[in-house]
């Protein structure tokens, strides 16, 4: 018997369950492929411009961000995101998509109050927690180094 009190429990059979295994495989494959592209770019920058592996990191990330922003503009990245889930959300391309999509969406409200104000609407939390986490980890490392005296 479905009642108000047991509603959330009793309707569970009617709600389609996400296929976790299939979603994990899709995320693994797509996320992995994005990383393969990144690795390819790193090798390319090392071979063509004589960068070290460390120096090739920044142009690699920049290129991935550019590709993700262009795919967002062409309306491809949201379809990829629906298919791959975390596979396309977790890499830097997902971060780029969250900024590019918000910027595109608010173009209609102008460059300052629309695009500039809203482009970090989704990515802002990532930046905040990224900075806070870096701070905390840095503090732990500094404390450990001071105590251990290395």
């Amino acid at each position: 018997m479905i009642t108000k009190d047991n509603y959330q429990q009793s309707i569970k059979p009617y709600q389609p369950k996400p296929n976790l295994i299939q979603n994990c495989i899709k995320a693994f494959v797509v996320g992995g492929l994005i990383c393969v592209v990144g690795q390819g770019l790193t090798v390319l920058y090392m071979e063509m411009f004589g960068f070290t592996a460390k120096e090739a990191g920044n142009p690699t990330i920049t290129t991935l961000i550019l590709i993700a922003a262009i795919l967002t503009g062409f309306g491809v990245y949201d379809k990829l995101g629906q298919f791959a889930g975390a596979g396309s959300a977790v890499p830097v391309t997902g971060f780029a998509n969250s900024i590019a999509s918000a910027a595109l969406e608010h173009k209609s409200e102008g460059l300052v109050l629309g695009v500039a104000t809203n482009m970090f609407k989704l990515a802002g939390s990532v930046i905040v927690f990224g900075t806070v986490a870096a701070y905390v980890v840095g503090l732990i490392r500094f404390t450990a180094q001071t105590i251990l005296g290395s």
């Binding site: 309707i11 949201d78 995101g81 209609s108």
Partner: protein, 336 residues
Amino acid sequence: MKQGKQSWLFQNGVYIIDTATVSGPKEKQGPLGSTFDYSYEKLHCDGKTWEQAEQNLLSKATNLCMEKSGIREDALDLIVSGDLLNQNVTSNYVARDYSSSMLCVFGACSTSMESLAIAGSLINSQDNQFALAATSSHYATAERQFRYPTEYGGQKPDTATSTVTGAGAALVSSQTSHIQVEGATIGQVIDYGAQDPLDMGSAMAPAAANTILQHLTDFNREVNDYDLILTGDLSSVGTPILKKILYQSGVDIETVHDDCGLMIYHQDQNIFAGGSGCASSALVAYGHVIQQLRSGNLNRVLVVATGALLNPTMMQQKESIPCIAHGVVLKRSDAI
């Protein structure tokens, strides 16, 4: 006049002179595509912004409705209109082009039948002769207001619904026509504690059940008195829940029920659990249903438009989703 606890019976005769439906491109490709009066080829609907796109949909629908009805604009007493956007911007901006009185209403996706019920009541009062009931929704305006930017690559669950791009309008009058608005049942706000904005079918099913049961009680009718009981946008998740709740209350709607959100699209159109939005019930009721009533394939239809009274801020504050459903009875009439 009041009928039972929550219903109105329009005993003085309320009729729909004509209706108009305008859709977006995806809806045009759906099974009911040929029933719409006009369909835009692009989601932008000739507008520079998404909001303008939705205004163009609604404006086209209201203009077409007036044109089809053959009623001069200065004869129009009143517009009753609403949509999903903050401050009902679509309806208010479209109403700028009309010189008649405007009543703006909000019932989320139940606005289609809420506006029709109010228009019907105002005509039944015999204080007005012509009232225009109208509503609209647009995929992109709803996405950006209630969810994420349209191009954001987040993964939606299978319980999510896709907002229908479209607008519908009906000209209601005391002048007789082939379609009578027999009465209406005004819903209560029902909240069973659902908190997932990406599963509105589950949230709205109890509200739809409540309104249908109340309607049958108020009018002392049975399911068999209707050829079709139509819900607005319960989706493939909420529809079986509605049937189950009603079945437990001794009402079996299996043979006469359909859901507008499940009728608008083909299953392969990537719309998850079905269509939603004010335009879901408006496009089906003012297009397909009116045509079927006119041709005599249907005689009496109960349209129950379902609305999730969702607010993103309240969702972030961990509140649940209150829901509402309004029912209107459309009947084939021989009065003309």
